[in-house]
Symmetry: C2
Subunit: 550 residues, 2 copies
Amino acid sequence: MAEVIRAPRGTTLTCKSWLTEAAMRMLMNNLDPEVARDPANLIVYGGKGKAARNWESFYKIVEVLKELEDDETLIVQSGKPVAVWKTHEWAPRVLIANSNLVPKWATWEYFNELEARGLIMYGQMTAGSWIYIGTQGILQGTYETFYAVAKKYFGGTLKGKLVLTAGLGEMGGAQPLAVTMNDGVVIAVEVDKRMIDRRLNTGYLDTWTDSLDEAIRMAKEAMKEGKPLSIGLLANAADVHPELVRRGIIPDVVTDQTAAHDPLNGYVPAGISFDEALKLRKENPQKYLEMVYDSVVKHVSAILEMKKQGAKVFEYGNNIRRLAQDHGVKDAFDIPGYMPEYIRDLFCEGKGPFRWAALSGNPEDIYKTDQKVIELFGEDEHLRKWIEMAQKKVKWQGLPARICWLGQGQRAEMGLAMNEMVKKGELEAPIVIGRDHHDTGSVASPYRETEAMKDGSDAIADWPILNAMLNVASGATWVSFHHGGGVGIGYSLHAGVVIVADGTDLSKKKLERVLTNDVGMGVVRHADAGYEIAINTAKKHGIRMPMLDK
Amino acid sequence: MAEVIRAPRGTTLTCKSWLTEAAMRMLMNNLDPEVARDPANLIVYGGKGKAARNWESFYKIVEVLKELEDDETLIVQSGKPVAVWKTHEWAPRVLIANSNLVPKWATWEYFNELEARGLIMYGQMTAGSWIYIGTQGILQGTYETFYAVAKKYFGGTLKGKLVLTAGLGEMGGAQPLAVTMNDGVVIAVEVDKRMIDRRLNTGYLDTWTDSLDEAIRMAKEAMKEGKPLSIGLLANAADVHPELVRRGIIPDVVTDQTAAHDPLNGYVPAGISFDEALKLRKENPQKYLEMVYDSVVKHVSAILEMKKQGAKVFEYGNNIRRLAQDHGVKDAFDIPGYMPEYIRDLFCEGKGPFRWAALSGNPEDIYKTDQKVIELFGEDEHLRKWIEMAQKKVKWQGLPARICWLGQGQRAEMGLAMNEMVKKGELEAPIVIGRDHHDTGSVASPYRETEAMKDGSDAIADWPILNAMLNVASGATWVSFHHGGGVGIGYSLHAGVVIVADGTDLSKKKLERVLTNDVGMGVVRHADAGYEIAINTAKKHGIRMPMLDK
Ligand SMILES: NC(=O)c1ccc[n+]([C@@H]2O[C@H](COP(=O)([O-])OP(=O)(O)OC[C@H]3O[C@@H](n4cnc5c(N)ncnc54)[C@H](O)[C@@H]3O)[C@@H](O)[C@H]2O)c1
Ligand SMILES: NC(=O)c1ccc[n+]([C@@H]2O[C@H](COP(=O)([O-])OP(=O)(O)OC[C@H]3O[C@@H](n4cnc5c(N)ncnc54)[C@H](O)[C@@H]3O)[C@@H](O)[C@H]2O)c1
């Protein structure tokens, strides 16, 4: 069954409309070997985030989509197509729910049992909702985070600033480029040479060394000249960080993307060579873990010391604070999380990971929409720069796609502009528009997106459910509701939405509503929690919040 | 703020359409003193199930509904109106989410904390979704359950059969009438004389005695004559049940509705007078509980013995099996739950608690729809009898309303018929149609509605979410999604739906879809779990389940 899946390209419809064609192509695109991590097992990304329950389900979904009418809706339960209903033309063509469990049973153990019996599927975020577009997403998110740091503390640029981090893995590998795109200098400590090589090959990393002295020298020079530079340092963070403190070298910004959330498989201890560490991990996991704890304590203590001496430090969602605190670093949580520290302000403006793909498969369609972004929002230099850099650095994976963070008002504007382009024939085929579930109004996740909400409403999950229902009510093409994405089973609930710009007048109306209401629910969620920025955004955009009426 | 709330009656619109008028009247009706348990605190029923977060929210919801346009949607988060969005005329006018929490935080303790801070509201089932209609619902549900017993074991009637139960409280008080409506004889043991008196006064109970001999004599006589009779026996079940076993008197059916789920406040121990028990409960709860455990063991052991000797026994959701097993009755779970034993088969046909209310406030409107039920489904004697008995025995509470269990196909038929009646002017005003969340496709609740599913999918909650989204996509007037109803925070997720029959052609289309799809998702959920009845129902009604295609 391990057939290679690749979405059809071009303007010939396989399905009865571009709406169902989009669902089919995006489902297939999620399983394109250029996109998916393990397509043979239907795994797209993020642990075991899947696009369909099994191959039988996959083929049946495709079959149904090919026949689905404009007033019918396909129901997908954890990746299995369970029913087709007559609805109406404003209704979504597909409704999806993945991985949802009654709270008392919401554990990995129980989930795995049900999964083994073929009853449920882990959807992660955009895997099970058919709008993953490859690694561009993480690059853009990291770029935005570093930009938020720059804006908050350094006047909007990291020029002449030094960022220290560790981990150049799957996600962390985006860090060097994300820093240099913000004009900064970065030393990224990584123990695994292969990871450094990979990033050098894709142009995400500029240079490397295994000498701390050399790294410092290069960094200082670049900082002095105000030139962006990314340096991979082959070493262990638990050695490098304390040594920098000893030498009195305090970076401007410090974060981390070692996979500390999984101490056994994701963190490599110091005091032992990399190869020996890999051996020890297998042969004596207990011993290995003890060394990890020891290293993490040194690593995090050094970060805390850098913070005391003025560095802007933050945790990037790898749970390293928890690990350090559990092993004796009492004040580990003095390191703030990246969400409340940097992303929340953006979410309050409705800003989040807006993305789209060209159903034609033609990169020109994306370049033209890139141009449209610059035309509409080009006064935002940061945004313009992203588009330019993305064109240079991002390689297509599957259908050509673009991501950028847009806020309330902007998303609708951009969606309508793309619909107009399709209508006028400026693009070869319709555009499919979606977003990550890691967005302003779509997720309740107290260890990440909703950590430390102002009013303490971190765990209240009415919001993502309302978001999903409102998207269904606004004209979305498909809507999904998931459990456990990002932080695992039990810890999050979140919704996805996708809408097609096919150039029709009906789509115009739908785009206007979906792209206003979806993100608007995020603004409302934050305004309701008392964030001033969100309240102002709501006012500015005329969002009606009855309880704020005079 | 404890103003008395009562929905407007008659045909004058306060809002801009009958759809929004219905939402407003039903919200108000939920707080009508005839309907609500504690209207001053906005509590409708079921513990602290509320209709709105607070009075400020209540008045604001009403204010918004009065102005809401036909293409706008109000968003209610745990009883608070948080936003109004532009949608379209097929979209619901209100979307509601109540009490939802990220699973790891889904405990009463945490919920209560958030509630105390004013951030969340407990919606129970129909309280927070504005379609509670008073105690008629419990009477009808109990009637259906006893009928299901009769159908499964006694050829469809309890004529000449003896039912033994205990508890004539808030819910349990419906039992005597529900049995006699099925032509059976019932001895209902109750320790509290006031409860017996209440049921005698409302005509739910025929007679009473405090003598076991007398109760047996009356029961035997009625059984012999084939006459329905309900007998309240003022005594303790822990005394009566073992004594019946000793005397070799084995009832045909045994169940229980003492409030054993709450041993301290809901169960009264034997071996002590009722008044002394109430004193002991306050003064020495520990001692009281020990006596309760002792009594429950005797009570449940007797039920098990009756089962061995041929009685059909079942637990009615009061958790008495758990309590007994925890205190030594190893085989307490040999007593089946009422859901898998009796209700599941009904759910497989899509049968569940369909209900409607007359927005006019005119009882004649309900009598006319009663007539329509008989006209359409009168060949179902059981259903006809319910309508006739309900007309005699059920007192209106708030807006006149009716409930009856209808299945796949029937609900849509009835909905369309009511719309036609409104259109033709046969009814004074539109009808509002809804259902309990305790229904075939709308709930995941492993200790009740989804206990012991055939494929082990009890805890999978994709289904109620899909149900909610599909109802939004099908033209419902308002849709709600709740957590914790029936069995408490952490243990259930469920959806509600309401739709107005206002006589228009658009409503006709919406009714057709909503009343087909909503219940159809229940049939699909059960068919997917492998129930033959559900698979046949799906086939019979042409429900498209792609994975069942040849
Ligand atoms: N938004 C978010 O919250 C978010 C997003 C992406 C990733 N993350 C988290 O970031 C972490 C990294 O993710 P990933 O997918 O890149 O993981 P990964 O396992 O692919 O990469 C981790 C890298 O860290 C290196 N490493 C481990 N210990 C080290 C040490 N002591 N010194 C130097 N290098 C070391 C490893 O060799 C590896 O290359 C994870 O914990 C992930 O959960 C969070
Ligand atoms: N569908 C369902 O699952 C469902 C529906 C309704 C009720 N229930 C359950 O049924 C139970 C009853 O509900 P309720 O609202 O009527 O409770 P309630 O507290 O109003 O009534 C319980 C009654 O039992 C009597 N009683 C207690 N101990 C007794 C004893 N040993 N002998 C005789 N009488 C005794 C009390 O005096 C009281 O009148 C609850 O546990 C409830 O959760 C379940």
